[in-house]
Symmetry: C2
Subunit: 406 residues, 2 copies
DNA sequence: AATACTTTCTAAAATATTTTACAAAGCAGA
DNA sequence: TCTGCTTTGTAAAATATTTTAGAAAGTATT
């Protein structure tokens, strides 16, 4: 049995298949939970030590797992700690944003190989075919630079803004049919590709690596050019029947009547997106710190420098966002709400009014249970999430049990 | 090994425990999926026919399972169909409503033993201790009438309106601490008791037995004296971090400014509850069909008899509910929304305006994916759901794998 | 430092499960 | 009605896993 036997499902007769599944299971736990000792694996898999031992022997012989030596004792003999061999396989992550195109290679310990490569995005300024070719070229360059052969990359995860369904069909950007974006990119990149909404990738990343690590019910709101919402419910990513859940930016907020680009009226996005904030800042003539053109970042920097009109603008935005979050609290009763995106740089200046609105509009017993946190993943949450999303999809499709998020 | 060995977890050494778990698994599948053939069980459990065969032999000897004889052929030898012995165990269901107290006994095929017993409810008119004793007395009477010994009842599920957390602690009705309602009722009823919110019980019932049978993502809205929401997401009941998710009645709807009994302003419940509808009907002097006092049922009957003011009132309620549902659609992207409660009797007169508002306020791709249906379980959804909730909790606590909803 | 206790780990024996091989029972077309 | 094909079902052989028993390597206590 070689490495790819552990990856590819089916074709094997029952017993070998079963053994393979068990081994995938172990690999999966190591991928998701990090390094583990034999007894820990026994508890996780409901198998006994001799069985686990034999599996590990095989997995080590196949180059999947390495023995890290003794760990710390829990009152007795110190256990050997086993770990995935970080370079046994790689996952490619691509985050196609409106401003930047990010490309990164991840190892089996979720770590970035080298660094995250950031390129200008053509998403909003070029034809779809050009965007695709640009992505393929950038990936090509990145892999060439890193000197990693394509054959060692198992799968690619791509995150995109806009409406995307469960199957990865796109309805806002890069809309292709027959073959869809997934197949086209797969052909260009010469590997299996999975497409996901960026808000979902962000939620997954926050839950796995960010401030929401290990929290069961988390709502991740990102405020950039659009308002996004990704949801972890009962520790699993929730995407809705169609994959389009989390359209938080287009729920109706009371007291708003501005028409939204979506065609409806009074959407949260008409006050809480960077575009809307910039527009409002211009109307109120908020002074930018260095006299440069108005941007969300500029508004935040101005507010940090005690520019009252900027502080008040952020407060008003925060109050509306908080009112929206209050509705979310009643519906989802989450353990945590994570605020992400460019707005994070505002710190207190946004969280305080948000929290205040939550207190005003949500029931005590529900708001009291919920923590409000700022993301600490910088702008890289989405691309960090793509690796987990891609592994999850690969699992569903091939039975590889790396899956954490499906 | 006897019947209760299959129920009670722990205490047994590894192998026996494992065998027990496998058998529980089979029982669980039979409970959830109904009758199954050996090959079907093989596919479901990933075990081979000889193994399944031995388990079934044991389960039949223990009185859990019966052989129903040959089923229909799928192009070859006809398989034996196996079924749970319906009276191998019973589950007690209690629905403590504001108007009625319902008690029913369920067998392992989810069927009501005899009938559902309906008594007047003391929930809103008596001291909490009196309510408890009343419940215990009614259960006593019911069981005596049915002639079923307590020892054959495995567990009781109780549904209640109001805020209830994951552990079954109550915060609106029958609030007890140390011991809580669960323990007190358990002592009175002399069996394990689990407490759940009625909206959640309804959602579970709709998903298992009602119009939402087998649908993966369902929002069940009930409109009675309060507005309730129970959610099935990815085929599992979602209750939130604290158990209090689904407070749909208290999200804010635009254009409303009536103070709500919850202390906030503009809640959906201020227009869409039976109380609010009755109040509005009085204000508009909607004529009741037989000149009786104003009730929601009266309003609906009037509307059915072409009383224009009643039709318009229902339309306005429907529009507000539909606006709320539009927000739910954006957030949850469900496959189906089920409307339940007293309002069901209004039929078209409520679904048409609701659907219209959904069309007005929700994105096409999301609303188009979602079906709107009226509940067909009558008023019995909650009590039908209690049996599944109770079995689910019992599973979590004792390892009994009857669980469908946890 | 020695003893008692805990945890980890591994061979060999005991026990389960899967595979294999084949029989039985039904369908479908000639 | 007969033949070939499919599905179901069951012993016996082959293969896995679990248990048992005991060793090894720690910690905590005396």
């Amino acid at each position: 049995m070689n490495v790819s036997d552990v990856i590819t499902k089916g074709g094997l007769p029952g017993l070998k298949e079963k053994r393979c599944t068990q081994k995938r299971n172990i690999v999966s736990f190591l991928y998701r939970q990090g390094d583990l000792s034999k007894p820990e694996m026994c508890r996780l898999t409901n198998m006994t030590a001799p069985t686990i031992g034999r599996m590990l022997e095989e997995l080590m012989a196949e180059g999947w797992v390495i023995d890290l030596g003794c760990g710390t004792s829990g009152g007795g003999k110190r256990p050997h700690i086993f770990s995935l061999k970080r370079d046994a396989a790689f996952v490619l992550g691509v985050d196609v944003g409106r401003e930047y195109l990010k490309v990164a290679l991840f190892d089996l310990k979720h770590e970035v190989v080298g660094r995250i490569f950031v390129y200008p995005s053509k998403l909003e300024v070029a034809e779809r075919d050009d965007v695709l070719n640009d992505i393929a070229g950038r990936v090509e360059d990145t892999l060439a630079f890193l000197g990693v052969e394509r054959s060692r990359i198992r799968v690619a995860g791509v995150s995109l803004p806009g409406l995307i369904d469960r199957e990865g069909n796109t309805y806002t950007y890069l809309t292709y049919e027959n073959p869809g974006l997934k197949e086209r990119l797969g052909q260009l990149l010469e590997m299996p590709v999975f497409i996901d909404n960026d808000s979902n990738a962000i939620a997954v990343a926050e839950h796995a690596f960010g401030v929401a690590k290990g929290i069961n019910n988390v709502l991740c709101i990102s405020i950039n050019e659009c308002v996004g919402l990704g949801m972890i419910l009962d520790s699993r990513l929730y995407v809705g029947g169609n994959g389009m859940a989390g359209e938080f930016g287009h729920i109706r907020i009371s007291g708003l009547d501005t028409p939204c680009q979506c065609g409806k009226v009074g959407c949260l996005e008409t006050v809480a997106s960077s575009r809307a904030i910039v527009k409002a800042a211009k109307e109120r003539m908020v002074k930018m710190p260095d006299g440069e053109s108005v941007t969300l970042e500029g508004v935040i920097r101005a507010a940090r420098k005690d520019e009252l009109s900027a502080i008040e603008l952020l407060q008003q935005v925060g109050e509306k966002v908080g009112e929206g979050i209050a509705s979310l609290l009643h519906l989802f009763n989450p353990d945590m709400v994570v605020l992400g995106g460019e707005i994070v740089k505002a710190g207190d200046l946004i969280t305080v009014p948000v929290r205040q609105a939550m207190n005003k509009y949500a029931l005590a017993r529900i708001r009291g249970h919920c923590e409000l946190r700022l993301s600490d993943l910088g702008g890289d949450a989405a691309i960090l999430g793509t690796q987990l999303m891609a592994m999850g999809h690969l699992h569903q499709k091939t039975g590889m049990t790396f899956a954490l998020y499906e």
